[in-house]
Amino acid sequence: MSTTRRDESTDALTRIRNLLGQERVSEARNVLQEALVSQPYDQDLLRLQSLLAPPQARTSSALDTDRTKDFQWLSKNAAKHRGRWIAIHEGKLVADATSLDELLERVSTLVLTHTPLIHFID
């Protein structure tokens, strides 16, 4: 890469990062697209292109189970569990812990009809 190209790339990256820091995402994308026209193989720009791309999605036939009872439990009891990770199954608290890893370890020892809903009560 020539010095000029490298300077252009650095300049574009700086501008994009400044815009992202100000949450001006659309403008950052515009600067990125302009920069990629002259530097289509710049690895930093290409990495940003994939990071700033709109989401991709595909549908899945996998559905979640009915969590109505779990939501009801949370409505009544969440405030008592602030700062804790909790697992709820069929409207009942089945495990709680101070960390997600600890919670998942406890859940893995349980025999449940389906996966519990897990949540951190902030």
Binding site: R17, L20, G21, E23, V25, R47, L48, S50, L51, L52, A53, P54, P55, Q56, A57, R58, T59, S60, S61, A62, L63, D64, D66, R67, T68, F71, L74, S75, A78, A79, W85, A87, S99, L100, D101, L104, V107, S108, T115, P116, L117, I118, H119, F120, I121, D122
Partner: protein, 147 residues
């Protein structure tokens, strides 16, 4: 599921959402997502006003995102400024009826973000068609690919 005025598909999935006041501040809409290979669904707050989606640090660590190369960013939030990075992640938006959506989306992750998980606009909601039925607490959603 839901169709627009021209009869095209608007939403392909539907899920009951939770809007209880979990943090004793004000009610917010929480939907279910399953990030990466996490073995169970978690709740995420819908936040159309947020520039980016954010994953709780323990969720991000569990699915290996804290070790992923990303774009460094300092995010300004109501909890203060957090240094972290933007990364691409796989997340399923779970439906109770219709179809769920498996997304490849952009998230902010930070080793200091020990708060909730949020679904923000850029890199995620910007391509999701959604509608809220507040009377029945139903969240309708589909992927808007411009067609």
């Amino acid at each position: 599921m839901l169709r627009d005025l021209e009869g095209n598909t608007f939403a392909t999935g539907c899920a009951i959402f939770m809007d209880t006041d979990l943090a004793e501040v004000s009610p917010k809409i929480h939907v279910r997502i399953q990030p990466g290979n996490l073995p169970a669904p978690v709740l995420a707050q819908l936040d159309t006003g947020a520039a980016w989606s954010i994953l709780n640090v323990e969720v991000a660590r569990r699915i290996g995102l804290l070790d992923t190369k990303g774009e460094p960013l300092t995010l300004s939030t109501r909890m203060g400024n957090f240094r972290g990075k933007l990364v691409r992640a796989s997340v399923s938006l779970l439906a109770d009826a219709g179809e769920s959506l498996n997304l490849d989306a952009t998230f902010f992750v930070s080793s200091d973000w020990a708060h909730g998980t949020f679904l923000g606009y850029s890199g995620l909601l910007e391509r999701i068609r959604f509608a809220i039925d507040p009377y029945r607490n139903l969240f309708y959603f589909g992927y808007g690919d411009g067609s």
